[in-house]
């Protein structure tokens, strides 16, 4: 635990911001990516069986990257804002009170979708333990956050390398309106369109839940096709490549032919990379349709219909026209605002988008698009 990490300031500043937010004609905000955190692993224990509690105690979390945490040290403790550490102890994201005062209330957030990272059960080497841990993570999200705070919606984390257990977990949680999506990570053991994951997509489609792919995870491979980069800056910038793998594989494997009502949200990978990828895939499809007879339409059509992306971390070209062109090519209806609170590269809903964005477009991204994707009832 980071005992000497900076504490959250008193919240007069947030009160000002709250007033400021209300003073403008209010924009409704739905946030596609807020990260809850465990105060400690003890928070999960009530949701684990005695057997798995003991396993966790003795063997800990053993992930497909060879480490219990991330293989790239972050640039700030827990990769978090230095003003987001709760007074009462525990890491950023672990205090519901602080999430409320510092973020939900201060910005007037209507709904925020939780994205549990860390020891959530994803990327565990032991599949049975993975399944137990994600179940505990899902119960913890519901009991600690979504139940006491209706503005927070939980995600159904699945042990994605174990499709059968993933389906069981979706079935266990899907009827509870506390859950808004199925949650996977971008770096899977096989590219995301591989048939081993199809039962997960079938279950998500059956329940009308989108599948969110959040960056990170360890599928058991070097993080790039050319081995391990040295630096966190490379890993961070490179998340857009694992997002491209997800989109490419889902489209080319024909997942959207097979599951025509499936909705996919790419989370925390930015979005600037999508137009170039789409043009590339269309051209390759035109050349080599014979390889993929299961596809009935051009890749761009599947992408336009099935893929959404959260906005953070926003690409920041020097010329804002380049950003607007990019969104134009993707579609203004495909972007979902996300703040990534409480992480260091937090995007402020009022300041992240460059000046000159038309108000109705801004509103679309801040909330209207999300209503079409998530189950928010």
């Amino acid at each position: 635990m980071m005992l000497d990490a900076p504490r959250a300031p008193v919240h007069e500043a947030d009160a000002d911001r709250r007033a400021d937010a209300q003073a403008r004609t209010r924009l409704e905000i739905i946030d596609g990516d807020v990260h809850p955190a465990l105060r400690s692993m003890a928070d999960l224990k009530p949701f684990l069986s005695p057997q798995w509690r003991e396993h966790l105690e003795i063997y800990g979390s053993r992930r497909r990257s060879g480490f219990s945490y991330e293989p790239y040290p972050k640039s700030a403790p827990k990769a978090c804002r230095r003003d987001a550490w709760p007074e009462e102890g525990g890491p950023p994201g672990s205090s519901l009170d602080l999430i409320r005062t510092q973020y939900l209330d201060a910005y007037g957030i209507e709904v925020a979708i939780l994205g549990p990272l860390g020891a959530s059960g994803n990327s565990e080497l032991n599949m049975e333990f993975s399944a137990a841990l994600v179940s505990a993570t899902n119960d913890w999200q519901r009991e600690f956050f979504a139940k006491p705070e209706p503005r927070l919606k939980a995600s159904i984390v699945v042990p994605s390398e174990h499709a059968e257990a993933s389906v069981q977990e979706i079935e266990r949680c899907a009827n509870d309106p506390a859950f808004a999506q199925v949650f996977m990570l971008t770096r899977t053991g096989e590219p995301a369109g591989n048939r081993r994951y199809w039962p997960i997509y079938a279950a998500a489609e059956r329940h009308g839940l989108p599948v969110g792919f959040h960056v990170f995870g360890s599928g058991g491979h070097p993080y790039t096709g050319t081995g391990w980069p040295s630096y966190y800056v490379e890993e961070g910038a490179g998340h857009s490549t694992s997002c491209q793998t997800v989109v490419t594989s889902l489209v080319i494997e024909g997942v959207f032919e097979r599951f025509p009502r499936l909705k996919v949200v790419i989370i925390e990978g930015g979005f600037g990379w999508l137009p170039a990828l789409t043009w590339r895939l269309d051209k390759l499809y035109e050349r080599m349709r014979s390889e993929v007879p299961h596809l009935k339409r051009r890749p761009s059509e599947y992408i336009r219909e099935h893929i959404w992306l959260t906005s953070q971390p926003m690409e920041e070209p020097e010329n804002r026209r380049h950003l607007f062109d990019t969104i134009e090519w993707i579609g203004w209806d495909r972007l979902l605002f996300a703040s990534d609170y409480p992480h260091w590269d937090f995007d402020d809903p009022f300041r992240a988008f460059p000046a000159g964005i038309p108000r109705e477009r801004h509103q679309q991204i801040l909330s209207a698009n999300a209503r079409a994707v998530y189950r928010l009832a």
Binding site: S75, T186, R187, T188, G189, E190, P191, N194, G219, H221, P222, T224, G225, T226, G227, W228, P229, S230, Y231, V233, E234, G236, A237, G238, S240, T241, S242, Q244, T245, V246, T248, S249, I252, E253, G270, G272, W273, P275, A276, L277, W279, R280, K283, L284, Y285, R287, M288, S290, E291, V292, P313, M314, E315, E316, P317, H322, D325, T326, W344, D345
Partner: protein, 353 residues
């Protein structure tokens, strides 16, 4: 029509990939015997399946236009009235796990290229294959060829053992910079790792699509590790990368650098500022929108007229007829892409062969 390409330099043409047997005559006795005794009669990576549509444009396939120097010259140099074309041999030397085999095949392939192609048409130039499995031996190969000015570039792949910015590769950049070779990074993989950070994709379409992700990684690595700080005169040419992925990736890299630059304190400027001095892109394939007006908006994202190099990617099927450049390019930019930028990128091109 071909007038409009007059004097251009084609920065990416591919001689037909040689078989090990074709390279054996350029080896010493030990390696020639090894090739025979061990039965090394094929060594084909899956990067360009021979009969895949992308691998060869139909009219060029019908004419076997990549079979020898004369056929290639007819289809490219003569047809477009080019001044030079740079031959990038895609023999998969990078795929060997044994650095001795790699070194033997790299030298043989380079000597084969010099004899069978560069020696047959004075307009042809070449890129040198390197046994990248051993960077010191790769540097030795650069030294060996430095006196032959027909070699203007050294060639590596978008995906190999480790990201190319790592300091173990720096002997290659030192030698390349010393002798004025550009460092070409071409689409393709050594297949020493799964093609993506999420494992092996199923389809060839995905393999080719994933190459652009390899370029993201290599550029991020070269910049972050400080290669361009250490070797400021180095020119890195991203060959067959797709082009349009680059600006959005640089927006990301620069943004992350602003946030976490304490990790790489030797990077003393915004990452995108290295591009204009050190990074070039060949223009085929060009992953772009359909219309010239939109392509103009994509090209504007590069914020530089100096970065694009003309390339047909012959015989790969990237365009039909004479549409070797995407629409929407102004006459002045066209002139730079065809002639000025290649000359500025390849200093050895201006020297007598």
């Amino acid at each position: 029509m071909s007038d409009s390409f007059r004097g251009a330099i084609d920065c990416d043409v591919h001689p037909r990939v040689p078989t090990p047997g074709m390279l054996a005559p350029y080896m010493n006795d030990y390696w020639r015997e090894t090739v025979e005794l061990r039965g090394i009669d094929t060594w084909e990576a899956i990067s360009y399946p021979v009969n895949a549509p992308l691998t060869m444009r139909p009219d060029w396939r019908a004419r076997k236009a990549d079979a020898d120097a004369a056929s290639l010259a007819k289809a490219t140099l003569d047809h477009f009235d080019l001044s030079h074309a740079i031959c990038n041999c895609l023999f998969a030397v990078q795929g060997f796990r044994d650095e001795n085999l790699a070194a033997a095949f790299a030298s043989a392939a380079n000597d084969w290229l010099a004899a069978e192609w560069l020696g047959k048409d004075a307009r042809l130039r070449g890129s040198a294959l390197l046994p990248i499995q051993s960077p010191p031996r790769a540097a030795d190969e650069i030294e060996r060829l430095a006196g032959d000015h027909r070699f203007v570039q050294v060639l590596m792949l978008a995906m190999g053992e480790q990201p190319l910015g790592k300091s173990l590769y720096w002997p290659i950049y030192a030698a390349a910079e010393r002798h004025g070779f550009a460092v070409g990074i071409h689409a393709g993989s050594s297949y020493h790792h799964a093609l993506t950070g999420s494992g092996w994709p199923t389809y060839y379409i995905e393999d080719y699509a994933a190459q652009s992700a390899g370029f993201h990684t290599q550029l991020g690595s070269l910049i972050s590790e400080g290669v361009f700080v250490k070797y400021p005169k180095l020119k890195v040419v991203l060959i067959e990368s797709g082009v349009t992925w680059l600006p959005p990736y640089m927006w990301r890299l620069s943004k992350f650098w602003r946030g976490v630059r304490n990790e790489v304190p030797w990077i003393d400027r915004e990452p995108h500022e290295f591009l204009r001095d050190n990074v070039r892109l060949t223009i085929q394939p060009f992953d772009g929108p359909a219309t010239g007006a939109q392509i103009g908006r994509v090209l504007d994202q590069l914020q530089s007229d100096d970065m694009l190099l003309f390339a047909s990617d012959f015989p790969h099927w990237q365009f039909d007829g004479d549409d070797a450049l995407p629409p929407g390019i102004s006459a002045s930019l066209r002139r730079k892409i065809l002639i000025d930028n290649p000359l500025a990128t390849y200093p050895r091109l201006g020297r007598p062969a």
